[in-house]
């Protein structure tokens, strides 16, 4: 028989680590609030039997104010997992138990996993599990997910609970968390009003509580008629009057009174030493009044220097030699030896090796960038960056929380757009999504790397850094304009946890880096492969499917020549650039592979050095810069486009986003080229 265990817990409680530990999957673990965004599943490996583990989003509460909370609550109410494993960060137990109280109210079969016990022991604090169990009326299991301690016992206990429920048919009893006057109201609503409801989902005690709390989602889902709402209102007013607070606050307050009481009875805290913790010491420097912003910029600059400096370019040369040199030569002589047709030789060496190779050489560089970004994420620095930058971002009508998705946007737009789900305000979310494409993602790196190598060999780092800055400046200005025009609205709140600094595990960092690198290699093997073949064919033949001598006469040449005039005012009106930019919609890095194919390089000897020589004939430093700026800003790639559509859930806004970015790209490239020309650059 198959069982379902759901993992529920606050952001940053070590939930993803536990999920990895149980399922044995190589899942990425982050360290900023809200990193677990999608529902993930895995099979429990440490225990006999068919047990599926569902990882729910990290949430602070079950009150349905954000999408993640709704996902988690709906899952528990509708899918009814056999056991809900509630992970509680033992170092932050009081607030973590707030969610626990709501899970208990829901009537779920809860097993509490008290995580980070190693940190609690190190601090010298003592937690009495027996007292906790007595209050919560559910099993409490101490674990340390990062060290793998207690995980097997946790699963065995959860299995016991599940089997007990199945054999007896009795679910866990809900403890009476609230005081008598609230409990009386809940009981009366449960007895007099709940039976009159037509539709019912969830247990009646919980429904009564939600009705008392005035939860609109539940009211809607149960189609509560107006007459009953008036009856409920009597109870609400009674309590509001008694406590001089609105009803939501009364209930929340009451839950916290419960958790405070439990903690005071069950936890013995070691006398707080007056010494600063390591986290405090780091914070003193990182969020220092004077140092914070220079430090942030220096860190970003440092990351780019390593990625594009000696280490980065070494990896590029190495892979280049391997793919375009060794592999290209080998295949070329093999094909010649086998007497392959010249078109086949051309397709494989120029089309496939040339196209995919131009992109593959940048994979190590992308992996290095992701390595650094995941360090920032896993250590908890990202949340501090949001803290430091909030004031600036608010000037644009955004919050510090938008900063995190934008930073992720430097890696890849797809997870960045997805991570905007942590934003509670719909308009903020929309604005953040519209700005993310301006953050220069990893896939645009190959374009910069190629063009800077060709035209700015002496100051590659500076030029690439300037492009990243350009993207940020454009995002800032856009935020300012959009917030004043089509996305007017109130300022959203900024209430965020600053997690303690943690030393990331090398394993976690490498897993993340490898995942991203793998993603790009996979893309090279599928989308870029297909695109390479198609582009090769389109430039090989004309519309009557006959091979042409000059690619300018090919199908692709014809398409390129038609749209090229659009780019003439930007300084790169040749058909090859036009075609390369078109293919950039498939994936931004495809611009480079298209350039490779169109210039007929990868002649199996010197690889991309040939491409650089070829580019020097059709570009100048000025037009190269305009071209890079255009590539940075225009139309997000297919994958990002699809994600934006899914997250915005509106074709109108998706098209506005795409149209806006392309318009901005054209305008900026136009200004760079025309103003640069006037100033005498070439």
């Amino acid at each position: 028989m198959s069982l379902k265990f759901a993992l529920v817990g606050n952001p940053n409680c070590g939930k993803t680590t536990l999920f990895n530990e149980i399922t044995g999957s190589t899942q990425y673990v982050g360290n900023w609030p809200g990193v677990t965004i999608e529902k993930r599943e895995g099979k429990a490996k440490k225990i006999e039997g068919d047990i599926r583990i569902i990882d729910l989003p990290g949430i602070y509460s079950l009150s349905p104010y954000s999408m993640e909370e709704i996902i988690a609550r709906d899952y528990i109410v509708k899918e009814k997992p056999d056991v809900v494993i509630n992970i509680v960060d033992a170092t932050n137990i009081e607030r973590n138990l707030y969610l626990t109280t709501q899970l208990l109210e829901l009537g779920a079969n809860v097993v509490v996993a008290l995580n980070m016990m190693d940190a609690v022991e190190a601090k010298g604090d003592k937690i009495n599990f027996g007292v906790l169990e007595a209050f919560l009326k559910v099993p409490v299991m101490p674990i340390s997910a990062s060290k793998g301690r207690g995980v097997k016992e946790l699963l065995e206990k959860a299995l016991q609970v599940a089997q007990a429920v199945v054999s007896t048919g009795i679910s866990a009893s809900t403890p009476e968390l609230h005081n008598d006057s609230i409990m009386n109201c809940i009981r009366e609503i449960e007895e007099t009003i709940v039976p009159k409801l037509k539709s019912k989902s969830g247990n009646s005690r919980w429904i009564a509580l939600k009705l008392l709390e005035g939860d609109e989602n539940v009211q809607k889902a149960l189609e509560v008629p107006g007459a009953l709402l008036t009856e409920i209102n009597v109870y609400q007013e009674k309590l509001e009057k008694k406590y001089d607070m609105d009803i939501e606050t009364v209930i929340a307050d009451s839950r916290y009174q419960f958790t405070t009481n439990v903690v005071s009875k069950a936890v013995k805290k070691q006398e707080q030493s007056s010494n600063l913790t390591v986290s405090d010491k780091i914070d003193k420097v990182v969020t220092n009044r004077i140092l914070a912003i220079p430090l942030f910029l220096a860190m970003m600059f440092g990351i780019f220097s390593v990625t594009f400096g000696t280490i980065g370019s070494f990896t590029v040369d190495f892979v280049d030699g391997l793919v375009n040199g060794t592999l290209g030569n080998f295949l070329s002589s093999l094909l010649e030896g086998a007497g392959a047709a010249s078109w086949l030789h051309d397709l494989i060496v120029k089309g496939i090796i040339g196209g995919m190779g131009s992109m593959l050489v940048f994979v190590p560089q992308i992996m290095i960038l992701f390595f650094f970004l995941s360090i920032l994420e896993d250590t908890g620095y990202m949340a501090r960056a949001a803290f430091v930058m909030d004031r600036l971002l608010r000037k644009l009508g955004l919050s510090g929380k938008s900063f995190i998705p934008m930073l992720i946007g430097f890696g890849c737009g797809v997870p960045a757009v997805m991570s905007t789900r942590t934003l509670e305000n719909e308009k903020d979310r929309r604005l953040t999504i519209m700005l993310i494409p301006f953050m220069s993602c990893g896939a645009r790196l190959p374009i910069y790397a190629l063009y800077t190598a060709a035209f700015f060999a002496n100051n590659q780092t500076m030029v690439v850094f300037s492009l990243y800055l350009l993207g940020i400046v454009i995002a800032v200005l856009s935020g300012f304009i959009l917030k004043k025009t089509i996305l007017k609205g109130e300022v959203a709140p900024f209430v965020m946890e600053l997690p303690p600094y943690r030393i990331p595990t090398l394993k976690g960092l490498l897993i993340h880096m490898w995942d991203k690198g793998k993603g790009f290699v996979k893309k090279a093997g599928t989308i870029i492969f297909a695109a390479s073949v198609v582009i090769w064919f389109l430039q090989y033949a004309n519309f009557s499917f006959q091979a042409v001598a000059d690619p300018g006469d090919s199908m692709l040449g014809a398409i390129g020549k038609t749209i090229a005039p659009i780019f003439s005012p930007l300084g790169f009106g040749d058909w090859k650039s036009a075609v390369a930019l078109l293919t950039g919609f498939i994936a931004k890095e495809a611009v480079v592979s298209a350039m490779g194919i169109l210039h007929g390089v990868a002649e199996a000897t010197e690889g991309s050095t040939d491409l650089i020589t070829a580019l020097r004939t059709s570009f100048t430093p000025l037009t190269a810069y305009a071209f890079m700026a255009f590539s940075l800003l225009y139309l997000p790639c297919m994958a990002a486009f699809a994600t934006i559509k899914r997250e915005m859930n509106s074709w109108k806004w998706t098209l506005i986003t795409a149209g806006y970015s392309t318009g901005v790209a054209w305008l900026v490239a136009f200004l760079i080229f025309q103003v640069g020309k006037l100033m005498g650059f070439r």
Partner: protein
Amino acid sequence: MLRKGLSRLARTLKELKPGEKAIISKIEGEKGAIKKRLMDMGVTRGAEVLIRKVAPLGDPIEVNIRGYELTIRKSEAEWIIVE
């Protein structure tokens, strides 16, 4: 007189300086997303808050509450009455 005396006692979280401690007595304002979020994060009546620091640009602030670090803007801190 009494009103005046009371209002002098009632301060908001925004007025506290780094290093100061206080007990939350009330959260003002209509119910809604902001208030709910504050409650979810443990900002409720009776909780002790310690002001840790102010961000480099003057806003937001960092506070310690219920044993963890929380950051909120001054505009939100203004709704929180402390004693």
